[in-house]
Amino acid sequence: MIDVDLGDLGLDEGGHLLVQRALTASPQVRVRGTAPTLAVDLPAWCRVRGYAYVDNVIARVNVDRTHGAERAGSIETAVELPPARWGLAARGALVEAGAPSLDLPLAEKRELWADEAARLYAQAAAAQWDPATAIPWTAPSEHPPEIEDAIVQIMTYLIENETAALLVPVRFLGRLHPHFREVMQLLAIQAADEARHIEVFTRRATLHRDVLGLSTAGGQASLATLFDEPDFAVASFLLAVLGEGSFLALLWFIRDHAPDACTREVARFAAQDEARHVAFGLAHLARHAALDPSLLGRLAAAIERRHAALASTAGLNALVFDALVLLAAGSWEPADLRRGHAAVVELVREMDAGRRTRLVRLGFDATTAERLSSLHTRNFM
């Protein structure tokens, strides 16, 4: 038996910590103290804890909550298939048995993991930018009204594509086992990136106009095939590797051709973020493909399926195509339009080349990569 003296500290002021600490060291503890309510509180506290109490002496009864508890893996390394019963517990935490099993169907490491996730997350966290200060919103713009109309149409198109890029990963995020902490954090910060992109594109579109451009049925049909895709690998492949990869080229194009500093910066900042999204998609799919040789076939089939589904749609919004030509031309002069048109054709070629490079990085041979890239949606995303 050991004695613990609480002085004037009451059990309603944290005194129970001293008592509990003493009970950890000894099965029997005599408690002394001068707090006015100690005589009332001590027996009541013991009753709730299941301890025996007689005349200021507490006898510990083993009511250990950690019996049958298990470690949720190790802090450093994610396991291959974390059980649902680990639930929301931190990786490496001691999890009491009997916790409810959560519905976390995205729980297989090979389907989602990339060793680069932690680094990409850290990069993303460090590279967050404030739309209010990063973009020169008040920079002078002297381009003609019709070029501004073209910018508004392009922004309208970007917003709906970025909305898809936000919602598609978030739907998987809600099903992802939080054991894969780095991937969860990365998808979350990607969503924050897209939220910011939606903000700046909206703000740029409405800088000089109070109505937005056209959203086409064909464009939305293309995005709907992403939105409805239930498989994480396929969705990530179509969205990140092919869609956002193509978008990178588009954002650089806008950065290079926009007439005003504001539009150029909006595109440049968004492109920096998108590059990380593409990097993660490539990294986890390359790892997945190395572990599961059947994956590439599934991905190829997904492109073909999507191509077939979109065959009857109009593809890229013609207004967007024309707006890009006009943006690159910078005027209605025929020579400028010829140059602008050539630039957009070159953009489409660059997008194709980028897709083929990434497909080869995932393990497709060059011929297959060329064929699959050509089947990618004409909507770019």
Binding site: L11, D12, E13, T37, V40, D41, P43, A44, G50, G98
Partner: protein, 272 residues
């Protein structure tokens, strides 16, 4: 084995998962078991006497009601099991720290906040103890879920809030809730004083009447006693029901409530 049917009062939504969990646990161990929920203890006691249920999870007041009603019909009631937390409770009367009330005698004529009218711990026992000391007070009831015998802690919380707001001069509650309310932040340390603490009393028990299915009841008792807090399948049920282990029932701890019921509840038994 015939299915054993338990009656319990639905004082909170958690009562359903508690007894669903028990039912599954009993079934896995070969005891066919089901339960019926009542909105109030009086209805449960009547159903018990009628034979609708085999065992009743009774509040202390419901135990007295069942025992006396059984006796009236020349039958016998037994308390077979109780929680470790059902033994040796006390109630306390709190006053504000700066109150001029120093002794129980000072409480004479004052407004005393209590819980539900039928709460043994927050109303009947403390008021009876005060009355037995010859003090007359003006009891201010906080009727939360009457018929549930104060199982819901809301009445005590309202009484304490009334005390802190200066609407009453004292408040009655179960000893453990003083600490619980302190942890909630409702009661700041040293904001109140314990003016009076009642003698010890017991709380709920599992009640059976003569003629109950002996084998099933015995198996029920064995299984309850076998429940181990270390067992993760059982622990959440015990946590929700507020115990670490089941103990044999005893009837030695109801004298205070019996006197209180006689003085405050009046002719409720005679009326049946």
């Amino acid at each position: 084995m015939k299915e054993l049917v338990l009656g319990a009062v639905a004082y909170d939504a958690k009562v359903v998962p508690i007894w669903d969990g028990f039912r599954e646990w009993f079934a896995q161990r070969g005891l066919p078991f089901d339960y019926v929920l009542f909105t109030n203890y009086e209805r449960q006691v009547e159903a018990h006497l009628r034979g609708d249920i085999d065992v009743a999870w009774n509040s202390p007041l419901a135990w007295l009601e069942a025992r006396d009603l059984a006796a009236k019909h020349r039958r016998r009631a037994d308390a077979i099991v109780m929680r470790d937390t059902d033994r040796d409770l006390t109630s306390v009367v709190l006053v504000r720290a700066d109150s001029a009330i120093r002794t129980l005698a000072d409480l004479g004529g004052k407004r005393v906040g209590v819980g539900a009218a039928d709460s043994p711990q927050a109303t009947l026992i403390p008021l009876a103890s005060i009355a037995e000391a010859g003090i007359n007070v003006d009891a201010v009831k906080h009727d939360v879920l009457v018929g549930k015998h104060g199982d819901h802690v809301g009445g005590e919380r309202l009484a304490v809030k009334a005390l802190l707001a200066g609407e009453v001069d004292a408040a009655c509650l179960i000893d453990g809730n003083r600490l619980a309310f302190a942890n909630e932040g409702l009661l700041a340390p040293n904001a109140t004083r314990v003016l009076y603490q009642t003698g010890a009393y017991d709380h709920c028990n599992m009640t059976v009447l003569d003629g109950a299915p002996v084998v099933a009841i015995e198996r029920f008792r064995e299984l309850l006693f076998a429940m181990d807090y270390a067992d993760p399948a059982v622990r959440p049920l015990l946590d929700m029901e507020g115990l670490k282990r089941w103990l044999p029932g005893r009837t030695s701890g109801y004298a205070l409530l019996e006197r209180a019921a006689a003085s405050f509840v009046g002719g409720w038994i005679a009326s049946r």
